[in-house]
């Protein structure tokens, strides 16, 4: 549909005002919020994700598109909730206790929100218990942990173990990241996934949920 293609196009250009306007028109024209989401917004951000992975565009371009995505998403969100259309999933995110490096974690949060996930960002220097409690109370699908100091990396292991104790069925998955973290460390800590950057985080989380 032409209108939805246009939404996708403007989103890719990072034109939040146009995306806002056209999403409004699409709603008025009676296009279902699910269609607007899938064929307009998510279609556009999907292309952005691929271009980013292929190094055709870079971080500021992605953020510009994510901002446009939010502008559209904010309009259809109440409608999706009204129609009880389930979201992509709920992610609890934060930088572990003892670490203030949150730039990377923030990017992961922005990209996840842009991809349609519900993100509960607990911030930085977050107590281990808070991750576990929030994940359980909020019935989160995934807990995402970030650490940039080698001294705070082991805290992630502690959180993963605590979570496994409180959620023995393993309904809540874990993903970890941060510059010094590797796939090997994720395996050693018992995390369900590892991602090296924000675009990869979306791919990995898709596989988890």
């Amino acid at each position: 549909m032409e209108l939805l293609n246009q939404i996708s196009e403007y989103l890719q250009q990072g034109d939040d005002e146009k995306v806002f306007e056209l999403t409004g028109i699409a709603i008025k024209e009676g296009i279902s919020p699910k269609e607007i989401l899938d064929d307009g917004l998510l279609a556009g951000i999907g292309i952005i994700g691929k271009q980013f992975k292929n190094h055709e565009i870079f971080l500021p371009d992605v953020l510009l598109a994510a901002k446009a995505m939010q502008a559209g998403l904010n309009q259809i969100k109440p409608l999706l909730e009204r129609d009880k259309i389930p979201g992509m999933g709920k992610i609890v995110l934060g930088t572990v206790k003892g670490d203030v490096h949150d730039i990377g974690k923030n990017l992961v949060g922005i990209m996840l929100k842009g991809a349609g996930y519900d993100v509960i960002d607990l911030g930085k220097d977050v107590a281990s218990e808070q991750f576990v409690e929030t994940a359980i109370i909020e019935k989160a699908n995934v807990v995402g942990l970030s650490a940039l100091l080698t001294t705070t990396m082991p805290v992630m292991k502690e959180i993963i173990s605590m979570l496994k104790e409180k959620d023995p069925e393993g309904n809540i998955k874990t993903i970890i990241g941060g510059a010094p973290v590797t796939k090997n460390i994720a395996d050693e800590y018992g995390a369900d996934a590892y991602a090296f950057d924000a675009a990869n985080a979306i791919d990995q989380i898709k596989l988890l949920i």
Partner: protein
């Protein structure tokens, strides 16, 4: 020395580089405009301040080893042992900047928020550079000598080292506080030591055990600059 915001702000190209944008990439006008908006907010909200104090090698030795948590083998031990002059420092651009970044995030001004974040990080790092220059001049650093900064958390010096730096400098005076997990509040702050000595003392082999988890190998470019 007074830290002046206009002297520590990074250029647009520095910010793009830190955000991983290659030099030849085409930059959308909206991104350029967002950078200048971010710069403006940063300039009106940053409050750069520092504390620095010269100390003897013996006192630094105590400070360095106080936590007992450093890596057994580390480059700094031999660097400061051969140093001529040493000063401790804490630098911050203040907490209002972080609040402004959060505000932009909440208003969905994601690009501005991310630009401000990078500007603030680079501004703190540039401030350390200015402090190095200041001490180089003050200590009459000669051609064959150099003045370089090192921080707890880097290269085998445990983060707990910040406790000792705080005990001596008392940065609470400039509103910088240390949490019980050794983190500084405001976030955009850096602490450490500035060391003057012959260039060769700052050269070392970066094959310590902890180097395997190092993300940016900053020692490489620093040592390359020294050899020039």
């Amino acid at each position: 020395m007074e830290l002046i915001t206009s002297q520590i702000v990074p250029s647009f190209s520095d910010v793009l580089r830190r955000q991983g944008v290659p030099e030849q990439a085409t930059i959308k006008e909206a991104i350029r405009l967002d950078f200048y908006s971010a710069l403006e907010i940063f300039q009106s909200s940053a409050k750069p301040q520092y504390l620095a104090e010269e100390i003897s090698k013996e006192i630094f030795d105590e400070i360095f080893n106080a936590s007992g948590l450093n890596e057994e083998e580390n480059p700094l031990q031999s660097i400061y042992s051969a140093a001529d002059q040493i000063a401790l420092f804490v630098i911050t651009v203040g907490g209002v900047v972080t609040e402004k970044i959060k505000e932009c995030m909440t208003k969905n001004e994601i690009v501005i928020a991310s630009m401000m974040d990078t500007i603030a990080s680079l501004a703190v790092e540039n401030s350390v550079g200015l402090l190095e220059d200041y001490f180089a001049e003050k200590w009459n650093s000669r051609e064959e000598e150099t003045v370089l900064g090192y921080s707890p958390g880097y290269c085998g010096w445990h983060l707990a080292g910040q406790t000792e730096i705080f005990r001596i400098l008392k940065p609470e005076k400039i509103d910088v506080h240390l949490s019980d997990s050794f983190l500084m509040e405001p976030i955009k702050s850096v602490s450490g030591v500035i060391i003057k000595g012959p260039k060769e003392i700052h050269l070392f082999r970066n094959n310590f055990q902890f180097c395997s988890t190092c993300v940016d190998h900053t020692c490489v470019s620093r040592m390359k600059n020294l050899k020039k």
